[in-house]
């Protein structure tokens, strides 16, 4: 079994320890996010449908969007329709992302970039939630007046589904994967390289390489523990013409200096 791969179990343990801490921190500071995602969402909705919103307010953990759609109460007075949305269902992914990144000993700037990248997806969820409520609230005639076509309503339905069920919890995971490609690459290569079996090839049977580096730089893009045995290779990207039977290089147990690869 593996002896030199990154420790998945230690990472998972750290993630599960960080999760309640990050969740509590997120939950008790959640009211602050109303401003962070509320205003950009209102701006976006007004760009998509000019003048659709006349105001926005925060009521506890809900955002109240005040539309410009009028409801006549009496011949002399009218009210504006409002929509109330729980914005926390779009932001909890921040806690998940923080827990994963802290468990991975990520650098602060990566966490900051990740938190910023999450914002458009949170705004997406909130905006489609609003639009979905709007479609439900208005009749076909009112929707037609606002310029909503049949496919718009289908798109809103799909957008809300993706924004509700996938983005909040999936994007943090994808961001974590994106920031930890080297870890995943080593994870997939850890069994491959658990025994000293670096493949050797027939030097006469390969095309002349166009890029040669000596020595290869150590993997600096990872936040993870380095391989226990430091090694420097002469790395030569080549087109393999024929491959000899694998022949181990004694004592070489380092993880590969690249992430996962697809078969060519």
């Amino acid at each position: 079994m593996t002896t030199n791969g990154p420790s998945l179990w230690k990472f998972l343990l750290r993630a599960f320890l960080w999760l309640p801490v990050c969740f509590a921190a997120w939950y008790f500071s959640a009211q602050l996010y109303a401003v962070v995602i509320g205003f950009p969402t209102a701006w976006l909705l007004n760009q998509l449908q000019p003048g659709i919103l006349s105001g926005m307010a925060q009521r506890g953990l809900d955002l109240v969007f005040v539309t410009s759609i009028k409801v006549r109460l009496t011949p002399e007075s009218y009210a504006l329709k409002t929509l109330q949305v729980n914005f926390l269902i779009y932001t909890y992914g921040l806690a998940l992302f923080l827990a994963l990144m802290l468990a991975a000993h990520a650098k602060w700037w990566k966490i900051l970039i990740g938190a910023i990248v999450l914002l458009p997806f949170q705004i997406w969820g909130l905006a489609f939630n609003f639009l979905s409520h709007l479609v439900t609230m208005l009749g076909p005639n009112e929707l037609a007046k606002l310029g909503f076509l049949g496919w718009h309503i289908d798109a809103i339905s799909l957008g809300k589904r993706v924004g509700d069920l996938f983005f909040p919890s999936l994007i943090p995971l994808l961001l974590w994967v994106g920031f930890n490609l080297a870890f995943i690459g080593r994870l997939s290569g850890s069994r491959t390289h658990s025994s000293p079996t670096l493949t050797t090839i027939d030097a006469h049977a390969v095309a002349v390489p166009d890029i040669v580096a000596s020595p290869a730089p150590p993997n600096k893009s990872s936040d993870y523990a380095r391989p226990s045995t430091p090694a420097v290779y002469t790395v030569t990207p080549v087109q393999i013409v024929s491959v000899l039977p694998a022949k181990p290089i004694a004592g070489n147990t380092a993880a590969p200096p690249f992430g996962w690869t697809y078969p060519s």
């Binding site: 791969g5 998945l8 998972l12 999760l19 969740f23 939950y27 729980n86 926390l88 269902i89 909890y92 992914g93 806690a95 998940l96 799909l158 589904r161 993706v162 509700d164 069920l165 996938f166 909040p168 919890s169 999936l170 995971l173 994808l174 490609l181 995943i184 690459g185 994870l187 997939s188 069994r191 670096l198 050797t200 030097a203 890029i211 040669v212 020595p215 290869a216 893009s221 430091p230 090694a231 420097v232 290779y233 002469t234 790395v235 030569t236 990207p237 080549v238 491959v243 290089i249 004592g251 070489n252 590969p256 200096p257 690249f258 992430g259 996962w260 690869t261 697809y262 078969p263 060519s264």
Partner: protein, 188 residues
């Protein structure tokens, strides 16, 4: 330096390919799930099966649980929960399936991974349904926090854990890698 850039390019081009294919497959699965045929043949029966399995487990220690379609009800106090699309674990399962299909690995291991992954995700989903059923009878505020945020995170995290463990237990790569170490490799 040139090789370093090449390595970087290979890593990120592979990763980009992974993310793009993952998004395409996931979107296709979401669309498929929304079609009336798949909804009627798979999603609804699947959801009801989840409810029945959850009720069957609860019946081991609670005799006041009844089911009706996708509803789970306490026959004593009348509290009931409806397990809707979105609460049946299929979203996390679809994410896991897409990630396993896209990650370079032998087909046999993809199939095994998908089957084991489905089991792992749905097993945790049953824990979610049961826990929410009792949390709702105890405290609705905590029920909402657990339902809307906590369990959503945990189910998707479960999918990530299964995926990482699956990658960990994949057999050694047998495909030709774009980089090989020649016999002139030297140890530092």
């Amino acid at each position: 330096m040139q090789a370093a850039h090449y390595l970087m390019f290979r890593r990120y081009s592979s990763a980009l390919r992974f993310f793009v294919l993952f998004a395409i497959i996931l979107l296709a699965l979401i669309q498929l799930q929304l079609t009336p045929l798949v909804n009627g043949v798979i999603v609804v029966p699947w959801t009801e099966a989840m409810v029945r399995i959850s009720a069957g487990i609860m019946a081991l220690f609670d005799s006041h649980v009844a089911t009706s379609g996708n509803n789970l009800r306490n026959t004593t106090n009348g509290f009931s929960v409806a397990v809707e699309s979105g609460c049946n674990g299929l979203e996390a399962a679809m994410v896991l399936i897409a990630a396993m299909l896209v990650f370079p690995s032998p087909w046999k291991h993809r199939v095994i991974g998908v089957l084991v992954g489905l089991f792992a995700v749905e097993a945790l989903n049953i824990v979610r349904i049961i826990s929410l059923f009792y949390l709702g009878q105890w405290n609705m505020d905590i029920f909402h926090v657990a339902h809307l945020y906590l369990w959503q995170m945990l189910i998707m995290l479960d999918a990530l854990v299964v995926w990482l463990v699956w990658i960990r237990v994949l057999p050694p790569q047998t495909t030709a890698a774009p980089l090989v170490v020649t016999q002139s490799a030297t140890m530092a």
